[in-house]
Amino acid sequence: MEELFAPPAYEWKRLSPKYRSMRQLTSLVIPPVLLTIPAVIVGVMSGRWWISGLIWAAAIVIVIVRLGFVTRSWRSWGYVERDDDLYITHGVMFRSLIAVPYGRMQLVEVESGPLERAFGLASVTLKTASPETGARIPGLTPEEATRLRDRLTELGEAHASGL
């Protein structure tokens, strides 16, 4: 099973543990916050606060399930720079492995949103002429993201080929 998504003769590089912390935080906060709004509305409108209680209970269940998945999801991510291409794997239920030849990269982007910055994280996205490529590596330390970007740009130039 595992070998379907393993890189040939290389070890996966994993994401920063801070990415797991960030995902744990979002999993913990977002569902209760989102579900509180309908819960309060239902409670105020109908006066039947037990329905609100059910909604909150659902929120807690979602949080538990998601927390359970966060570590697995974090562990499922991996990337490796090979001689000619970059491999990225991720996914727990729906698994995928993508390989992007350096010669096909058109653009390498480093992004970091406010939350990611707060956790000291950044993500790297590779773009090719194909919109389906969608090669994104989240949860990297800024140093690793910059290193990866520079490395990929360099490799992309070395392997550059027209379309």
């Binding site: 379907l4 698994r95 030849p101 490529t133 027209g162």
Partner: protein, 786 residues
């Protein structure tokens, strides 16, 4: 671009005192006449706005008419507003027209627009990727057309021009875009294209779709049948319940969608013609709006053929292509010229014809297609039996679908990235999908529901194939550039020696040889040759050195050398007789065999030539004569250059290559001989044959080269036998085997082993041919694999 411009005058006359010259002769840029588009342009543009308003207004009246309140007087207030809008539109149109100027001449393509914010767009001819002509209905009524120029990612419009002019300029621009020289004035003689189809007399229609077939195919297509069925079901169901008005919310969008579909697939594709002109493929289509679009073959990234279920009995297919840069927005939009449709409906033969044109040299029929495993039915219960994939060394094909059968073809060189996907259900069944990504467009190659191991194997090997294809493509492009370089200044040089392309006697990797007269030939070194002057000088010295020795063979002689138009050439003595290679192809066996024996004799005669140095040496090339103390050192040095470029390719194509290499080294180290002159490339194309009383005999050997060394005399004997296999006549291999037996009889059994060693040596030595000569490279691989 600038290089082709004529020199500027050093003292430019004051423009004020210069009468406006003829449209194109001025050398001064400031005097260049710019043109405005056709004067009717503002009317056409204004007319479009007017029509839009009229339609909007008409719709208002119609809706209110249903409310039984049609009263013309009530609408009078709208007329002044309408008048203002029309006037404004006309003024805007006029201003836009007035401030648009363009130049399309022998030097440049420049378009200037804007009143307050001026914009000047200059497009280098070679950057032009396509030039299309679009005629909206209004423009068409006035005989006008829009020219749309695509360069890189930007599209520039020039509207409107008279139709004739637009198509003339299109032809001119496409000629220039192909890197050929032409003059705008030359185009006046060309026949005008027909108004209805925009096909010039020089265009050869490949496929024409008749209106009957187009309409029938449309009515039978899944895209039409599904919404029609849904509409009818909803209508019938709601009518039965008597609640039609409630369903309008769903029905109206459906009907609008269906009308759009008719607009695109029928009106937009009406009179669809795929034609071939000397400028490539061209599509013309449209009932109201006539679009004429060129198909840039080098930008095609993939091909998709699809077949609706009801098309199957009729044998019809639709063909779409991924064209780089065409995927933005709606690919089928009529207003945007960029359509990905190659054929809206076509028979198998027409599809094959069209695909043969857009993917030249691809043999799709021979690709073996593999079905997905049976257990795929648990996931794709609705069409598991249609899932197929297959590949050869150039393309990947995937098939899927039952209601609409789709077949995606992606050339390996166009593969962007590869993805393996697996969902939870697929994991249970040990299945996975492999996606091969291409640039934006209709082609979407996915090998569905493969066995896990097959999927991984396919994905990883696809990356290798894509890499190999990319590097081959790169090589091809470099060679193409070199080839065009080679033709520069060539015609003039050939003319100076009163010869021409038709006098070409032979061509090799380093030079081409043209006949001047019976005594002399012109040898034109390729412009990529690193040091033609040095090579020629060294050859000259070597031929001089040999001049006093009669070995019973005619050898070449350099009479003159020089450089002209940036090309280095020598004038050589022409060897008597005819080329052995050409003769072999037509001779019968009884004639061939004695001649081949004389060929073998010639290789032995060559060994009698004296060497300028006593030790093993390379006689031509940098630092020549470069001496070596052993044979193996000399031969390793010869292999170094070719292997540097072919090493990766060899490792890829021949996994055990390192072992072959080590073995060759070991064997060569055991060889002990006294060195002799080795031509290094004694193949029939380098030999000349004359008639003697005993029949045809090889009387001359030409083309000494950097392959020429002072080394093992057996090398030429081996070369004569093994290069014979490369000759393009039917019995070449049999003759080579026969000649080998003759040689073994002469030199003894032990040479069999050394012939084999030199087979491998030459296999390595010519392996850099992978970049330019696949036939020779395949031969090399065969030698190395023995």
């Amino acid at each position: 671009m600038t290089a082709s411009q004529p020199p500027q005058h050093t003292s430019t006359p004051d423009p004020v005192f210069t009468p406006p010259g003829p449209p194109r002769s001025p050398t001064d840029r400031s005097l260049k006449q710019t043109e405005r588009p056709h004067p009717l342009t503002p009317f056409v543009r204004g007319w479009l706005i007017f029509v839009a308003i009229a339609i909007g207004w008409g719709r208002e009246i119609v809706t209110s008419a249903s409310e039984d309140q049609l009263d013309a007087g009530g609408w009078a207030w709208i007329l002044p507003i309408l008048a203002v809008v029309v006037v404004l539109a006309a003024v805007t149109g006029f201003v836009a027209w007035y401030f648009t100027r363009f130049v399309i001449d022998d030097e440049e393509l420049r378009i200037e627009t804007g009143w307050i914010f001026k914009k000047s767009t200059k497009i280098p001819f070679e950057r032009l990727q396509s030039v299309d002509i679009i005629q909206p209905l209004a423009a068409r009524m006035f005989g006008l057309a829009e020219l749309r120029l695509d360069a890189g990612n930007s599209s520039t419009k020039l509207r409107y021009l008279s139709r004739g002019k637009a198509s003339k300029l299109r032809d001119y621009l496409l000629t220039r875009a192909h890197g050929q020289q032409a003059s705008v004035n030359d185009l006046d003689q060309q026949a005008a294209a027909s108004t209805f189809t925009d096909l010039g007399t020089t265009d050869q229609p490949l496929v024409q779709v008749s209106p009957q077939r187009l309409i029938l195919s449309f009515l039978l297509s899944s895209e039409w049948l599904i919404p029609s069925a849904i509409t009818i079901i909803i209508f019938v169901a709601t009518a039965a319940a008597g609640v039609v008005p409630f369903a309008l919310g769903a029905l109206i969008p459906l009907i609008i969608g269906m009308l759009t579909l008719i607009w695109r697939r029928v009106i937009g594709m009406f009179n669809f013609t795929l034609a071939e002109s000397h400028r490539g493929l061209r599509i013309t289509r449209g009932l109201t709006n006539l679009t004429s679009q060129s198909v840039p073959i080098n930008r095609i990234q993939g091909v998709k053929t699809s077949q609706s279920l009801l098309w199957k009995p009729l044998g019809w297919y639709r063909v779409d292509v991924d064209i780089l840069g065409y995927g933005h927005g709606d690919s089928e939009d009529n207003e945007s010229h960029a359509s990905s449709v190659l054929l809206p409906v076509a028979t198998v033969d027409e599809v094959e014809l069209a695909i043969g044109r857009v993917l030249p040299g691809f043999d799709l029929d021979d690709i073996e297609l593999h079905p997905s495993p049976k257990r795929a039915r648990w996931v794709r219960w609705f069409d598991f039996w249609t899932l197929r994939y297959g590949w050869d060394e150039r393309t990947l094909i995937t098939e899927q679908g039952w209601f609409t059968h789709e077949r995606d073809v992606v050339p390996h060189a166009k593969t962007q990235s590869v993805r393996i996907e697996q969902g939870p259900l697929q994991r249970l069944l040990r299945l996975a999908d492999v996606h091969v990504h291409t640039p934006r467009g209709p082609v979407n190659a996915v090998a569905h529901q493969l066995d896990e191991h097959t999927a991984r194997e396919l994905a990883l090997s696809q990356l290798d194939r894509a890499r190999a294809a990319r590097s081959a493509e790169r090589q091809r492009r470099t060679l193409e550039t070199l080839r065009t370089d080679d033709h520069q200044g060539e015609a003039e040089l050939l003319a100076a020696f009163s010869t021409g392309r038709d006098q070409l006697l032979g061509a090799g990797g380093e030079s081409e040889v043209f006949a001047i007269d019976h005594e002399r030939v012109l040898r034109l070194y390729r412009s990529r040759h690193e040091a033609p002057r040095r090579t020629a000088a060294q050859l000259h010295a070597l031929y001089q050195f040999w001049a006093g020795h009669d070995i019973g063979l005619e050898l070449p002689m350099i009479l003159e050398m020089g450089e002209r138009n940036g090309r280095f050439f020598t004038v050589d003595r022409r060897l008597s007789g005819r080329n052995f290679s050409g003769w072999l192809q037509h001779a019968d066996m009884a004639e061939r065999r004695p001649a081949l024996i004389s060929f073998l004799d010639a290789t032995e005669q060559l060994q009698q030539l004296p060497s300028p140095v006593p030790s093993f040496a390379r006689l031509i090339g940098e630092g020549a004569p470069q001496q070596f103390s052993t044979l193996v050192e000399l031969l390793s040095s010869m292999l170094q250059g070719p292997l540097q470029s072919s090493r990766t390719q060899l490792e890829h194509d021949l996994p055990g290559v390192a072992e072959v290499w080590n073995r060759l080294h070991g064997e060569l180290a055991q060889r002990s001989i006294v060195p002799a002159i080795v031509h290094g490339d004694v193949c029939p194309p380098n030999a000349y044959l004359s008639q003697s009383p005993q029949g045809p005999v090889v009387t001359g050997i030409a083309d000494f080269s950097p392959h020429t060394v002072h080394a093992d005399p057996l090398m030429d004997v081996a070369g004569a036998l093994i290069f014979l296999e490369l000759e393009p006549y039917a019995d070449a291999a049999a003759d080579a085997a026969w000649l080998e037996a003759v040689a073994v009889e002469r030199h003894g059994r032990e040479i069999v082993r050394w012939i084999d060693v030199y087979r491998r040596f030459y296999g390595f030595y010519f392996s850099n041919a992978y970049a330019f000569d696949p036939h020779l490279y395949a031969w090399c691989l065969r030698q190395l694999g023995r």
